[in-house]
Subunit: 285 residues, 2 copies
């Protein structure tokens, strides 16, 4: 497994692979791997002749009062886990390599980022789409793999790739969950034991939303109300949002006619957790 | 010479060239060619194994009260001229191909676009950098050629390419001028004969600025004052701006110590004309 730290080396490595007709699969990450990351990497291995991942805690997607400084990092552990999965290259750039002095260019996906986390985390998606655009130009992948846990991020990335005509396939992978249903997240490490129990209310409320939908409920407000009440009934929780949106536009819907997603953001203790469920899909909890 | 009209065909054409180790040189244009465009194309031929140009009057870089509707177009003439120069491919996409329904992604270069035309044409550079980002992803060039006549555009494109890590060389070519000094522009067709005479005040004022600089003048305000007075002394002219800026940041400078450019935008009749001179460089008028 190679560790590449500079843009120049990464680009020439990828250009060489492309000239030799090799297919590059790419998983961008912020590190501190859990099974969800590893599943994306496994998919990368299946889809590419060469599987590249990046590890970079991207400062431009954190707000001034967010958890950039305490975001968990453990490169040695990440390196070991990636090697075990069979990753070929870890791209591990520095802040200076990513945002040198004078940096001033941003990619904005305007509409799908206007709701949900776009409201509670201003600038977040601008940071995400910008860093992904940069990483795509560095790694030059044929296919990139994202998790559905960050659903709005996935929609924004797909929209950017489509709108900016990036010649790149975006593959979405199901959320990986703990045996008890909690969506895996690097931020779960912030949860104290008593908070972790309350955090289960997110996935359980999605299961409840699914049951209502499966029984024929199509009124978004009624599902949202039940979900909010359920989560609010657990200690240490503070709901940021519970919304049901069209999966393409990410605009709120009142009726569940087209393809819709219920998306949650909830603070549990000091952790801000998100989860979602696309109606009609399986939910293994 | 090939004419390609769809993104899919353009990308697969370019991908095939790249796999065969061919170097792609690209000149994006809005058509209605003059000798300035043809010089960029000739440079493209010199620098690439395959020279691609695009012809697309990009609506997102025109303001609501600008000349999008009347912008001159003549595809048959352009096709003939490009063929004479030896261009290999004209990429000629439709609006629908470039901005399909639901389009919502924009690339912003924030600082260098805050001055000059960025002030008088809000949104202009956002449109330019976005369409160039798209075209680069479609044509996949190794090298792209821009004219220095649109100096701030050149700086913004260079900044975008650097910031977003596009693996692409940006080549700048000197402004092509009429024998009497007028900078070539597709918009010169808007000039009535009596206005064209006044339009010469732009290039002549740059010559004057150069002379002052060559004689040792380093105070920006004094040069600007003379230039403004000279242009204002001609009928049909209305100065939009005359400024002297740092060539990297595009911020105003008061002393001509580092590399500086004097940039002009002047309405002459219904035409908005721009011109510029980088101090210390030759000026063939």
């Amino acid at each position: 497994m190679e560790i590449i730290e500079t843009v120049r080396e990464m680009q020439s490595y990828s250009e060489d692979l492309r000239r030799r007709g090799k297919k590059i699969a790419f998983v961008p990450t912020m590190g501190y791997f859990h099974e969800g990351h590893l599943n994306l990497m496994r998919e990368g291995r299946r889809r590419g002749d060469c599987s590249v991942i990046s590890i970079y805690v991207n400062p431009t997607q954190f707000g001034p009062n967010e958890d950039l400084a305490r975001y968990p990092r453990d490169f040695e552990r990440d390196r070991r886990l990636a090697a075990e999965v069979g990753v070929d290259v870890i791209f591990y750039p520095s802040d200076k390599e990513m945002y040198p002095p004078g940096y001033q260019t941003y990619v904005n996906v305007e509409e799908v980022t206007n709701n949900l986390c776009g409201l509670s985390r201003p600038g977040h998606f601008r940071g995400v789409t910008t860093v992904c655009c940069k990483l795509f130009n560095m790694v030059k992948p044929h296919v990139t793999i994202f998790g559905k846990k960050d659903f709005q991020q996935l929609v924004a990335i797909k929209r950017m790739v489509l709108d900016l005509n990036m010649d790149l396939e975006v593959v979405a992978m199901p959320t990986t969950r703990e045996p008890d249903g909690l969506a895996m997240s690097s931020r779960n490490v912030y949860l104290k034991p008593e908070e972790r129990e309350s955090a289960l209310s997110l996935s359980r409320s999605l299961k409840m939303a699914k049951a209502m939908y499966d029984e024929g409920e199509r009124d978004a407000a009624r599902i949202i109300e039940k979900v909010k009440a359920y989560i609010a009934g657990h200690p240490y929780t503070k709901i940021d949002y519970v919304q049901i949106c069209d999966t393409t536009t990410m605009k709120d819907v009142s009726r569940l006619d087209g393809e819709a997603v219920i998306a949650l953001a909830v603070r549990v203790g000091t952790a801000r957790l998100i989860d979602n469920y696309v109606f009609g899909e399986p939910l293994d909890i």
